[in-house]
Amino acid sequence: MKMIEVKNLTFSYDDTKTTIDDISFSVEEGSYTTIVGHNGSGKSTVAKLLAGLLEKKSGEIYLGGLELTAANLTKIRSLIGIVFQNPDNQFIGSTVRDDIAFGLENHCVPQPEMDEIINTNAARVKMTKYLDHEPTRLSGGQKQRVAIAGVLAMKPKILIFDEATSMLDPQGKDEIKKVIRKLHEESSLTILSITHDIDEVAQSDHVIALNKGKIAMSGTPHEVFTNEKRLKEIQLDIPFALKFRNALARKGVKTDAHITMEGLVKELCRSDSNM
């Protein structure tokens, strides 16, 4: 089943420039999709349009089979959870516990049920120990984990990460990537992550590359990130494994295109023993 379906979506912040230019794509239920593109390519705008935080100019958005309109915004919002870039600016409560409760209060969850939901979801992101901590005492990665728990508590079907790791240090980035991978493996959530991180892209099922508000490429991580010419055109980084493969080719060793180093080394070993 298609969990997200976008048809001919167009959006602009002002009349001078079209930020999202007639894009169409769909995302399967339970899949893990990454959206890549250089800054200004329109990635985050797509996320905000899907969450109903911006109003589209034209086109259609269907989430879980339901069309996103002003009338059923509330219903749509209960389907979709979004984790933003800045860890400080989305921590609303004064403690971890209160922050997770915030969404539950908005959805009118009865008070006696809240503690259990809070505990379960804090455990899912390994923040149980920090339930009574204030945000100033948490690292960036921990704050983002709280944001994830806060969103999960509302039982969404779709989870969007809008550059959720880009402001974090390497530890924080790792923590969040692990949480995303775990959620993908253990739940039927549909995950859409906007990222610059090639390692994260490699762990996803499907990649959409945006450029100037249009879809430049779409496919498996392997398909997208081995298309060197197109990657250069849309100003994206070429994975190291591919650069190394090209260097090897120049020295007369031909291998398949790989996006992970592990894959490339594995092939080298195979050709090594076969020869």
Binding site: H38, P170, Q171, Q235, F244, R250, K266, L268, S271
Partner: protein, 286 residues
């Protein structure tokens, strides 16, 4: 003359329940004319360390020698203003320091504060903006109208226009996309090569350290854990592993190849060298 830290300590909120010792007896010598990376975990004291270089923070104990000046604990620093002109410090997310009506005015603000006459300050601002690659048609625009990456470049131009001898950058590429990062790092590399600026970069990104820096200083719990050449630091992944740092791609590749049975020389430091070595071995076996 190198920059020298001697027994430098720094404590935040001394004498309160929030007291926190951020630097402990730091001894460090940073060579002039090099690009030095300052790395370490969040909260290790990296930022505290570099904020001593232009006396934004003063040592609680010990002294710092920098550009013929000495900052000693317990003494009011002399010629503070000229030191701040000579040591340009760029904070993390510097786009948040822009405030003037136009880009050119904002960049000229720094030099004017250091007594440079208006017309010369504007000239310097134009030069600095050219260095960071901002198109002249944006000079008269409001800095707030620019894109994130452009704002960042304007903010850095604001420090470059002061013509500092030492340039200190706290995570200058945080939040930039891969292309923005490369152009930013190339700029610093060029400033170092062509204008002989001493550059310190606080960063988490090992690819940058490996590709652009000469020396690396590792800060851990307010102390200097290691200080060595980048080539030595990345000769293999042992230092990185010991310090829980993800090594740059090339080093990870070398590790993977070694594990797979390839013989890889420690001294290989570029992708072509590594490819030659691997290609030779693949062909030999065949």
């Amino acid at each position: 003359m190198p920059i020298r830290f001697e027994h430098v300590s720094h404590t935040y909120s001394a004498g309160t329940p929030y007291e926190y010792k951020a630097l402990k007896d730091v001894n460090l010598e940073i060579e002039e004319g090099k690009i030095t990376a300052v790395i370490g975990m969040t909260g290790s004291g990296k930022s505290t360390l570099v904020q001593h270089l232009n006396a934004l923070l003063l040592p609680e104990e010990g002294k710092i020698e920098i550009l013929d000046r000495t900052i000693t604990a317990g003494e009011k620093p002399k010629n503070l203003k000229s030191l701040r002109g000579d040591v340009g410090l760029v904070f993390q997310f510097p786009e948040y320091q822009l405030f003037e009506e136009t880009v050119i005015k904002d960049v000229a603000f720094g030099p004017k504060n250091f007594g440079v006459p208006e017309s010369e300050a504007v000239e310097r601002a134009k030069k600095a903006l050219a260095m960071v690659g901002l198109e002249p048609d944006k000079f008269e625009r409001s800095p707030l109208e620019l894109s994130g990456g452009q704002k960042r470049r304007v903010a850095i131009a604001g420090i470059l226009a002061m013509d500092p001898k030492v340039l200190v950058l706290d995570e200058p590429t945080a939040g930039l996309d891969p292309l923005g990062t490369v152009s930013m790092m190339s700029l610093f590399s060029k400033l170092n090569r062509e204008m002989h600026k001493t550059i310190l970069i606080v960063t988490h990104d090992m690819e940058q350290v490996f590709k652009y820096c000469d020396r690396v200083v590792v800060v851990e719990n307010g102390s200097i854990r290691a200080h060595m050449s980048v080539a030595h630091f990345f000769s293999d992944s042992s230092f990185c592993k010991e310090m829980n740092i993800l090594p740059p791609s090339l080093i990870r590749m070398k590790d993977l190849l070694r594990e797979a049975g390839f013989e890889i020389d420690d001294r290989i430091h570029d992708i072509d060298g590594l490819a030659s070595s691997v290609a030779r071995q693949v062909k030999q076996h065949g």
